[in-house]
Symmetry: none
Subunit: 145 residues, 4 copies
């Protein structure tokens, strides 16, 4: 038997709120998904103007980042033509996302969930995902005093 840590629904809401705030500030409405450490969806929001195609993409970015414990943009580099993981973007029925915008959520050195963002450029998606994590981390640290 073993014990693992994972995000709860309040964490998920904070991550979405932090990401949405940054998306608003750059004027790019996003789809934002949060998964637990196993890649299972906890919460999702499509902001006004977020793309319908981005629903699945955001969910799958969060799934990939959490369940593979790796940022999706790292898969992007590793899967270029000639690189070792070339072709992995079609794995798991296409759920393995290699486009930027999926980040593992880390707590005390351990992956406890994932955030996936889609609707902007991949760089914007990644920045918005990072902003969600930064807001959540800042709030956690403030709570610990």
């Amino acid at each position: 038997m073993k014990t693992i840590n994972r995000l709860d629904i309040d964490d998920a809401r904070q991550l979405i709120a932090g990401a949405a705030a940054h998306a608003g500030s750059i004027g790019v409405p996003m789809c934002i998904a949060i998964t637990d450490e196993s890649g299972q969806l906890i919460a999702f929001e499509r902001m006004e103007g977020g793309k319908v195609t981005s629903t699945t993409i955001a969910i799958d970015k969060a799934f990939t980042a959490a369940a593979a414990r790796k940022a999706t943009h790292e898969y992007g580099s590793a899967s270029q033509p000639g690189a070792p993981a070339y072709g992995i973007n079609a794995a798991i029925g296409g759920r393995l996302m290699v486009v930027a915008g999926g980040l593992p959520v880390i707590w005390q050195g351990e992956v406890v969930g994932g955030i996936g963002v889609s609707s902007g450029t991949p760089a914007q998606d990644q920045a918005v995902a990072q902003a969600g994590i930064d807001a959540w981390t800042a709030r956690n640290e403030a709570a610990r005093g």
Copy 2:
């Protein structure tokens, strides 16, 4: 050319909050999904203790209710052995849900979205979905004065 009305993200949040409040009051944590009138996901929450299997089921109940403009329990009746819609539960890769808990969200006589709830008994799921709609409707009516 035509114009359609649909739920926005604030409506979706109100629907989830109303449903979650009722789920809390009966002590059954739920997965709650809101779609627009086309059946596309707007928002989702898995409450603490909501089932992992219910993620897809809640999303698909909301999809069915919105996009078919019919409560999922009505399909339950219509798809019994010998009934006209028998077998439809396997349609659309299994996304056409015939179990109670999916309701169309109606505004001025028109379907503008769907709510899907899963993790309890089908009767509990349906009651929680209805509670979400009731809370949203009450708030809309209050806003109109």
Copy 3:
């Protein structure tokens, strides 16, 4: 943040060994799958003579039992024609199993994983899954002294 308990790989091996021993004793080779509490596969064995179709069925029974925290045969009763969950067998792309042979694995009152068995009659599958749990439980209790 929250903490959950789940089976580890040694638990999974014990569950498979206990189930396989009973399958051998009744002369029905089985496919046996073990998932964690989120329904993600930990270990799988197809015994000599286990059915190829039963690979997916066993995995999906374990997934259902763990992630819905319910024995698959309970879904069997609840989804008969006229019953509340009628039609749910096609949910989640058909992964929601309503045939006996999937059991949640419970530790200190909490679902920590699932076992799924397939290749015999549903009653045999269920008995073999139960035997796996019984062997694992007995060993745990012996270990605690």
Copy 4:
């Protein structure tokens, strides 16, 4: 009518044990899958720390290696842009794996199964798969005296 040779469950366990031993020695926990010569799963283990995404990937690497009778890294070369098999990574719903880590298991010049490994770098995955085969081969040769 014809007769084919294939791995049995004891072979599968030896292959997993050999692979897991090497994975342990390099400190990279893996998902390890063994299929028969038709690509059908015989056994699977997710080591402590193996990635959830790697479950499907390991199974599909073993499937590809056995059923196509080709190491997955050979498909990696053959499917680069401009090469003859370009695009094949999306075939069979994405199950045709072109990333290293899937090897056919050969006995007396004939493919009798496949091993697929995932969670490390593709080079690590391939080395661990090879270690599984080497351990199994050594044991077979020792058994023959």
